[in-house]
Symmetry: C2
Subunit: 116 residues, 2 copies
């Protein structure tokens, strides 16, 4: 299994990119099919330039990629980066589970000591 240790800086960028409802919506839309930036801009009550900036934030975080197609720039979600974020949270939950196990172990030892 590939470990893919992700740096704190990248984690910062990924979570920051996800901390905005418009950007999360762009990610969801760009899963189902590629959208041009101006097509995406049509969905939100803000200027084209604003949406362009949101896409740029997502792109810097690696959550989205763009490929040129004529005069359009097609935006596609990079599901792998979503998975990286998911794993970061999973690691935290793993620490939680490990703590529970350690707790159970102590309980078992106490049982053994009290019931020889």
């Amino acid at each position: 299994m590939v470990v893919d240790k992700v740096g704190e800086g990248l984690a910062d960028e990924i979570f920051h990119a996800l901390a905005d409802a418009t950007r999360r919506d762009i990610v969801r839309r760009a899963i189902l099919g590629d959208h041009s930036v101006s097509a995406l801009a049509g969905y939100y009550p803000m200027s084209f330039a604003a949406v362009q900036k949101h896409v740029a934030v997502l792109e810097r975080a690696g959550l989205v990629s763009k490929r040129k197609c004529g005069r359009r720039q097609l935006v596609k979600t990079e599901i792998h980066t979503i998975h990286i974020a998911n794993q970061l949270l999973e690691e935290i939950e793993a620490v939680w589970r490990a703590r529970l196990e350690r707790f159970d172990e102590v309980l078992a030892e106490a049982d053994q000591g009290a019931n020889p």
Copy 2:
């Protein structure tokens, strides 16, 4: 199963709270055992007040809770909120998998049509 539909505003706060290495570290430490705010402050190269603000951000997002114990304020990670964030990402991955299934379906239909 409880659905627990999470509002966009809460999602914003959760991901924003996670978009900082110091705050993620606080979350990890406060899983293993309760820490006072000043104990946490000892781990980071910044003032007590700065760490206090980080804890406040985590608390507003529901990632952490505080309980008073004498003159100290003990910080504890709320694993449920981590799980909520995890589910939000899982939903996005689910959309991806659904798209793959639809794609496979179309391929199967094409096979059926081309191979009667």
